[in-house]
Symmetry: C2
Subunit: 333 residues, 2 copies
C-alpha cells in the first residue's frame, strides 16, 4: 500500500506440514517443484555431521551454524568460516563459491576503507562450501570440483535431500545455484515435511536424526551466524530461541521448523520477492508460535518509511493469507 | 528460468498509445491507476521550463536532464545538480529529498574511502528537487515546504500531469514518494498517451509543447545524466539517440516515448520488479525501433550468470508478451 492504494502485490504458495506429510495449511500451488536455494543449507550440511566429519575435526556450534548460513560477511562470520577451514586443513583458495561484496554494509565499508576487495570468504555461502570441502576431506575424496553435480559430495547431498523430503530428485530437477553448487527443485509440500522432520527429528533415525538435531541446535544457539544483524532469520531465532529454526533462500523462498509443534513451513513467492516471503512467514509464525507477534512486531506492522522517515505506506497480508493464518492459531487457541 | 525450470515469474500490464489515446497494444489491466513514481520526472519538470524559469536562470541541457533524472550519484550527476542549484541561487541544504547512498558503486566507494557520508545531493532525485526549488524561486514563491502536496509547485505539477495524461488527478490518487514529493496514480493507458504527447509534442501547444520538446531533447542529448553507467535508460538513449526517450520508476514502472512514431509506452509489473519492467520494455522497443535489438542484445538474451560467471538461467518473455510484441513490429514490417 502507498497512500490509499495498492501499489504492488505478491502471489505465492505456502505449505505447513507435519513430519508425516499431513498438511495443516496449503495455499496456492504446493505441488510444482520450486528451487529451495539457500533455504535448505542445513539439509545440505547433514553429510558434514552424519559422516562423522564434524566430530573428527572437532567442529563447534559456531562452525556448524556457519555451514548452514547465508551470512552477511561480518567479522564473526569470517572467523567461523576460517575456523571450519582450519580444523579441516583447508585453504580459502579452495572455496568455489565465487566472490561478492559482503551483505553487511559495515563490512563492505571496512573493506573499502582498507583499500581491499572482497574474496570468496565474503560470499554468503562460504560456510556451506567450507562444510562441503570438509566432508570430502574427511571421506578421503579429492575435494577438487566438490561443487559439481557429479562429485560424490553433491551426490550424497542429493540423496539426503531426497530422503528427508520424501521425493526422488534427479538431474531434470537440478539448477545451478548462485554459488555454483546444484540446487534441486521440489514441491513446497515436500519441503515443509522435510523441515518438520529436520526440526523435530520425527521420521529420521540414527546418525541422520542426531545430525539434524545438532545442526538445528547449532543454528538456534548462534542466530547471529546464520544470517546477520537486522536480518529476518537472526531476529527470529534470537527472539524465539528453540521454538523456531528459520532459513531463507533467494527468489522468495523461506522455510522454518517449529520443533516443539513438529511442524515445517515452506513459502515461495512466485516473483521471487524476499519482502513477500518474509511477510508471509512472519504472519504464520505470529499465529503458531507464542511470543512471535512481539518479536516480529515491526515486520507485522509492515510500515514503509521513505528517505526522510515519513510513513508512506505499509505491507499488509492479502485477505486469503490473513484468514488462513488466523485459522492455524494454536498460539492463541 | 534456472536450468530447465521456471524459477520465478512476473505479471503485469502494458499500454502502447498514440497522442490521441488510440491504443496499439493493451495487455493486462491498463485502467486501474498505478503510481508512476520516477517515470514521470520529465513531466514533473515541465513547470521549470514552461514557467520561464529555465530561460531566466540560463539552464543548459545537462541541468535540464538532471531535473528529469534518477541519477546514480556519480561526479557528472552531482556537478549538474550543483550547476542548477547555483544558477537559481539555491543551497544543497534546501533539498528535501532525504539521503541515501549513491546508486553508483564507484561513487559509494569513493565516499567511503574519503571517510565521508552521503548527503541529499547524492539522492537519485536531487536534480528533480533542485528543479522544483528553482521553479518556486523564479515564481517568487517561498520555497519552504516545496515538497508538500499543498505547495504551489506541487499543485502546478498535479495540473500538468492531469492535462498531459488526460485525467483528473486529485488527493485520493496521491501517495508520497520515496523522496517525499507527491506521486499521483493514473491508468497505464493515460500514462502511455501522456508519453506519446511528451515525446512527439502532439496534443500539446505553446509553451508546454516547447517545454516538452526541450526536456526530452535534453535527456536524449545527455543520456548519461538521466540514469547512469550501465543502467537501462542510459544504455537505450545512448544507443538509439532521438528515437527513444526512456525513463524508469520504482516498483516496476517503466515508460518511453518514441517521438518519430508518435507513440508512448507504459509498463507496470504487479510485484514491482525492475527486472520484469525492463525486460518488457526491451521486447517492445526491439520490435518498434530499428536498431534497438542490437543496442539491447544482452538484455534480450536475458542470460543469468552466477558469481563465478557460469550461465545458470535466463529471463524470457511469456508467450503472451512475445506474441504481442511480434504483433507490433513496424520495425520489421
Amino acid at each position: 500500500m502507498r497512500g490509499l492504494l495498492v501499489e504492488s502485490g505478491h502471489r505465492g504458495a505456502v505449505a505447513v506440514s507435519d513430519a508425516d506429510g499431513t498438511l495443516l495449511l496449503a495455499l496456492g500451488d504446493i505441488e510444482t517443484p520450486v528451487f529451495p536455494r539457500s533455504a535448505v543449507k542445513a539439509m545440505q550440511a547433514i553429510p558434514l555431521v552424519e559422516s562423522g566429519a564434524a566430530d573428527a575435526f572437532g567442529l563447534d556450534d559456531t562452525e556448524l551454524a556457519i555451514a548452514c548460513a547465508s551470512h552477511s560477511g561480518d567479522k564473526n562470520h569470517l572467523a567461523a568460516v576460517r575456523g571450519l577451514l582450519a580444523k579441516a586443513g583447508l585453504k580459502e583458495a579452495q572455496l568455489a563459491c565465487g566472490v561478492h561484496w559482503p551483505m553487511s554494509e559495515r563490512a563492505s565499508e571496512e573493506l573499502t576503507r582498507a583499500g581491499q576487495s572482497p574474496s570468496a570468504i565474503h560470499n554468503n555461502c562460504s560456510g556451506k562450501h567450507a562444510g562441503m570441502l570438509a566432508t570430502a576431506i574427511y571421506r578421503g575424496i579429492d575435494p577438487t570440483g566438490y561443487e559439481r553435480p557429479e562429485h560424490a559430495v553433491q551426490e550424497e547431498i542429493r540423496r539426503v535431500l531426497s530422503e528427508i523430503c520424501g521425493v526422488r530428485l534427479d538431474r531434470h530437477d537440478m539448477g545451478i545455484d548462485g554459488c555454483s553448487v546444484p540446487t534441486f527443485a521440489l514441491p513446497l509440500a515436500a519441503l515443509a515435511m522435510g523441515f518438520a522432520r529436520l526440526g523435530s527429528g520425527k521420521g529420521l533415525t540414527g546418525a541422520r536424526k542426531d545430525a539434524a538435531e545438532r545442526l538445528v541446535g547449532a543454528c538456534i544457539a548462534s542466530p547471529a551466524l546464520v544470517a546477520g544483524e537486522g536480518r529476518f532469520d537472526t531476529v527470529v531465532m534470537r527472539g524465539l530461541g528453540s521454538k523456531v529454526f528459520s532459513k531463507g533462500g533467494a527468489e522468495g523462498v523461506h522455510c522454518a521448523s517449529l520443533p516443539a509443534l513438529g511442524l515445517g513451513i515452506a513459502v515461495k513467492i512466485d516473483d521471487g520477492a524476499k519482502r513477500g516471503a518474509e511477510h508471509v512467514l512472519a504472519r504464520l509464525l505470529a499465529e503458531l508460535v507464542p511470543g512471535a507477534d512481539r518479536v516480529l512486531k515491526g515486520r507485522l506492522d509492515g510500515e514503509l518509511r521513505n528517505w526522510l522517515g515519513i510513513k508512506v505506506g505499509r505491507l499488509r497480508p492479502s485477505p486469503t493469507l490473513a484468514a488462513a493464518a488466523k485459522s492455524l492459531s494454536p498460539a492463541k487457541g
